[in-house]
């Protein structure tokens, strides 16, 4: 699949970060990026569109990124979606919690071009791209 056809959902309650991540992903050739500010908005987006990848912050309210990850992993329709936590949270306990909840990868902010190979790796493992 062409990166331009991969649907990515970015969830972060900070608009600045949504804008930066959107720019970064587009600069790397990902053409379909939807950014929302909360898990409830993300759930609405998931009902409207099929996504291949979710990039999600941890610290959000009313629903944290971890709670949203738990939700996504319980949805039969979302099992194939790659989920990467992108967060300033870097304690071992949080990373382990996310892994146990089914995260595909975990990136500590800032997300940079250097992380794009991780994103490609996850998408390859999920058979979204070859």
């Amino acid at each position: 699949m062409d990166p331009n056809d991969i649907n990515i959902l970015v969830i972060d309650d900070v608009n600045t970060v949504r804008v930066q991540l959107n720019d970064l992903l587009k600069s790397f050739g990902f053409g379909q990026v939807q950014a929302v500010g909360s898990a409830p908005e993300a759930i609405q987006a998931l009902t409207r569109e099929k996504y291949h990848l979710i990039l999600c912050d941890w610290h959000m309210s009313p629903t944290t990124g971890l709670e949203f990850l738990h939700f996504v992993r319980k949805q039969p329709s979302c099992q194939k979606i790659a989920f990467i936590m992108v967060t300033a949270e870097a304690t071992k306990e949080r990373v382990v919690e996310a892994i146990q909840a089914g995260v595909d990868d975990y990136i500590v902010k800032p997300l940079t071009l250097a992380h794009m190979n991780k994103i490609y790796k996850v998408l390859t493992k999920k058979q979204v791209i070859e």
Partner: protein, 153 residues
């Protein structure tokens, strides 16, 4: 991609406004904490959340100095939440105010070089954090890879 050196000025202004908004929320929290002599675990938790939002966003934008001070404020707030004596709490509240006012100053004066006062403050906050037991341990990307590799397929 960072905003520090190359972002469109109007866009950068919007980014800074958002960060300042977090700092103002943190200030309201700190005012409430101060009125209760700090013994409010939930308010300290909210303050550390605002500091993590500033830290993460500053990191993404390429403002390491702001990230560092916000990070120290965050860690002190997390550790201070376990303190039960008002007399001890007052001291840590001062540190939280120092961290917050410095972050606000830095946001207003982005183009200025680090001042000696900021370096001294950073060192002082680090000392306070050490007295509280030091920051929570964090993992680097290498350790994260290792943890990911350990999970059952």
């Amino acid at each position: 991609m960072t905003a520090g050196g190359t972002a469109d000025p109007q866009r950068l202004k919007g980014f800074i406004q958002e960060l300042t908004g977090f700092a103002e929320k943190a200030e309201r929290n700190l005012n409430e904490i101060s009125e209760n002599d700090g013994l409010s675990e939930s308010r300290l938790g909210e303050f550390s959340e605002q500091m993590i939002a500033i830290r993460g966003t500053a990191d993404q934008l390429g403002f390491p100095r702001i990230s560092r001070i916000a990070g120290l404020g965050e860690e002190i707030a997390v550790k201070a939440a376990t303190i039960t004596k008002r007399s001890q709490m007052r001291r840590y509240l001062t540190s939280l105010w120092d961290a917050l006012t410095t972050v606000k100053f830095m946001l207003e004066h982005l183009s200025q070089e680090t001042s000696e006062e900021q370096d001294i403050l950073s060192h002082r906050l680090q000392t306070v954090l050490t007295q509280l037991g030091g920051p929570r341990s964090t993992v680097d990307q290498g350790e994260i890879e290792r943890l990911l590799g350990q999970r059952p397929e």
